[in-house]
């Protein structure tokens, strides 16, 4: 392995004149190592010099270069990222050293592209943006790129949500949502993001006009695939803090129409159940019991224990209305 790496042009640190003043520190696992690792010679060499600068606490541009080499070998090693931040902080305060922070973003862009689910890279990115960049500048563009590759990347979405809360540039968010839903309307992350954007840019509880608009939005997607869980959760979520039967009573008729159209759909039945329970009349509750039975026995038997639980709660509710 080591000879082929030498062939690839790797120059050991001991042969680099700019590092001649540094004595490498070999890893000491003790006499009986419980978890000894068989590293490659290249990796060992880099780590030996990393240990040396860690011990001497050197914080310089050459150390940044060294750290970049080591981190490429093992991007999840949080000790290396931690020390990199220490070095950046020291360099910032040293008027004699110049480092264009954009280089840091370039490194993060490259590494983020190859390793889009790495916690340490995202964490470092957040640190750099917050401390040195101070705005969402090109961040949204970078994130949109990541999301077009993998629209369910949890890190990318939570980074975007952090960015929006911190810098408040909500422009273009709904357009992004539309674009990603048109590519995959089953993407729950996108539905969550829409809810995040709506709830951060509107009063709570939501006004009726917003609810009507968003219900229509959800229905458009439901028409494509009625068994898609996400738009139904989204729909229910719009009424947070309010009662559907109070604020939007005509919704029930629409849903009953859909129920007869989408016969095997548990979701439409579930939301109708919620409304009937809100209404709390003998009629609505008796209808609910029938729906529960239908769900438990025919439409959604894998969840029969849940639907039986619902049946019993509604039965109790019915008894107390009489």
């Amino acid at each position: 392995m080591s000879s082929s790496e030498e062939d690839n042009g790797y120059v050991p640190f001991s042969k680099r004149p700019e590092w001649s003043d540094v004595k490498p520190i070999i890893q000491d696992d003790g006499p009986h190592p419980i978890c000894p690792i068989l590293y490659s010679e290249v990796f060992k060499d880099k780590m030996n010099y990393f240990r040396a600068v860690l011990k001497s606490k050197e914080k310089s541009l050459r150390v940044l270069d060294l750290l970049e080499e080591v981190i490429q070998e093992n991007p999840s090693n949080y000790t290396i990222w931690y020390y990199r931040r220490e070095v950046l902080k020291a360099i910032e305060q040293d008027v004699g050293i110049e480092y264009d922070i954009q280089q840091e973003m370039n490194l993060l862009d490259d590494m983020g592209e190859s390793d889009p689910k790495n916690y340490q890279i995202w964490n470092h990115r957040r640190f750099i943006v917050e401390k040195y960049i101070g705005s969402d500048n090109k961040e949204k563009e970078f994130l949109s790129g990541v999301l077009l590759e993998d629209a369910k990347n949890y890190h990318a979405w939570s980074h975007r949500q952090w960015l929006l809360k911190t810098y408040g540039d909500w422009n273009g968010e709904l357009a992004l949502v539309d674009k990603l839903l048109s590519l995959d309307h089953r993407n729950n992350s996108v539905w969550n993001h829409r809810y995040f954007v709506i709830s951060n840019t509107n009063p709570s509880p939501f006004p009726l006009s917003l609810i009507e608009r968003e219900c229509e939005f959800a229905f458009n997607h439901i028409r494509h695939s009625p068994n898609n869980e996400s738009p139904w959760s989204y729909l229910k979520g719009l009424f947070k803090g309010q009662q559907i039967s109070t604020i939007y009573p005509s919704l029930l008729d629409k849903l009953i129409e859909m129920k007869s159209k989408y016969i095997g759909c548990s979701h439409v039945n579930s939301i109708i159940l919620d409304i009937y329970q809100e209404q709390n009349t003998k009629f609505s509750l008796e209808n609910s019991l029938n729906i529960c039975k239908l769900l438990s026995e025919t439409i959604d038997p894998i969840h029969k224990n849940y639907w039986n639980f619902k049946y019993n709660s509604i039965l109790d509710q019915l008894k107390s209305t009489n």
Partner: protein, 340 residues
């Protein structure tokens, strides 16, 4: 039985162990014990910074399979202690920086081995306490990454060390509740998508602090039960594929809120068993994939929680992810635990 019959029976038995209906206990023990010796594998050195977590998953699996003695405690403990930093926290391996997650795994291993006396408990407590922010959230290390996973890790760690009174539990609860979403689930930070892994940590933390009644349990229970797919396996969020590790994240949360029966237990059991590797042992994320210690642990946990193979596997607590008996010995109250 004739020799001929014996031989053919043995041959038949060796090649047709039906891993879809049997739990291959001996194979899994073998798999885990062998992991420590595969020091030349790429996987081994790429995961070396999370060795503490890996050790916890491996040891806990052996405990569940009643085979903890198969690894040498007297080799493991000195290594574990060598991972502790002067500030009290533990790193993922020797020469790695401290982190809350490795600190938790280290404490869990010490509890497993009944060896808490080997550390200065106050030092560890102080390390954890310093990680709480003003808004009640917790960071994972000095660099400030906030995530509800860290709330759970801190709260669980301090609970095991009987030092919950050292943090602001009210603020901690407040922060966790601020991460509850419109669909009843929880994310990593406020507004982040509901995810089974994050839900497990929020439910765990709230349970330990005795504040689980602050959430809409039925709504969450329903979201969790919707994770079950027709193949019997569980996913972590809507429209994603099933993965054995969700047999833990989803199941433990359901168990903690007393709604375990809201998913089809038999179907999930069959899914987990199908994910076993009948050649090498170990359990994979999906049937046919390569096993790893992480999925092995969580697959066995799922079976334990559902009460299958009761005579062969120990009971695991859904909140602490440690053995019920181990936690009882520590004197902890576990009001959610059905196996007391």
């Amino acid at each position: 039985m004739t020799d001929k019959n014996n031989n053919s029976n043995e041959t038949v038995a060796a090649t047709t162990i039906d891993h879809t209906t049997t739990l291959l206990i001996d194979k899994h023990v073998e798999y885990i014990v062998k992991l420590g010796s595969k020091k030349d594998s790429f996987e081994y050195w790429v995961t070396e910074h999370i060795r503490m977590n890996g050790m916890y998953w491996g040891l806990s699996s052996l405990y569940l399979l009643k085979s903890l003695g198969n690894l040498d405690k007297n080799e493991i403990l000195p290594w574990l202690l060598s991972c502790q930093k002067p500030n009290g926290g533990f790193g993922g391996n020797t020469s790695h920086d401290d982190h809350l997650l490795s600190t938790l795994s280290a404490v869990q291993i010490l509890v497993q081995y009944d060896a808490l006396d080997k550390i200065d408990i106050n030092l560890v407590v102080n390390y954890v306490v310093k990680l709480q922010k003003e808004d009640g959230s917790f960071i994972g290390d000095q660099w400030g990454e906030v995530d509800t996973r860290f709330s759970y890790a801190a709260i669980m760690c301090l609970s095991l060390l009987k030092s919950l009174d050292k943090i602001n539990t009210e603020k901690a609860v407040e922060y966790i509740l601020s991460c509850q979403n419109f669909d009843g689930g929880f994310g990593s930070i406020p507004g982040a998508e509901s995810h089974a892994g994050q839900i497990f940590t929020c439910v765990g933390a709230l349970s330990i602090l005795n504040k689980i009644d602050k959430i809409d349990i039925d709504k969450l229970g329903w979201w969790l039960s919707e994770r079950q797919l027709p193949n019997g396996g569980l996913n972590g969020r809507p429209e994603k594929s099933s993965d054995v590790c969700y047999s833990w994240w989803v199941l433990s949360a359901l168990s903690a809120i007393n709604r375990l029966h809201w998913i089809d237990n038999d179907k999930l059991k069959n899914y987990i068993l199908k994910c076993q590797d009948n050649e090498t042992g170990g359990i994979a994320d999906k049937p046919g994939d390569m096993p790893d210690v992480f999925h092995t642990f969580f697959g066995i946990c799922g079976l334990s929680l559902m009460g299958y193979f009761k005579d062969q596997i120990e009971s695991i607590d859904p909140v602490y992810a440690l053995g019920t008996k181990t936690l009882q010995k520590l004197g902890l109250t576990l009001p959610w635990n059905k196996n007391l």
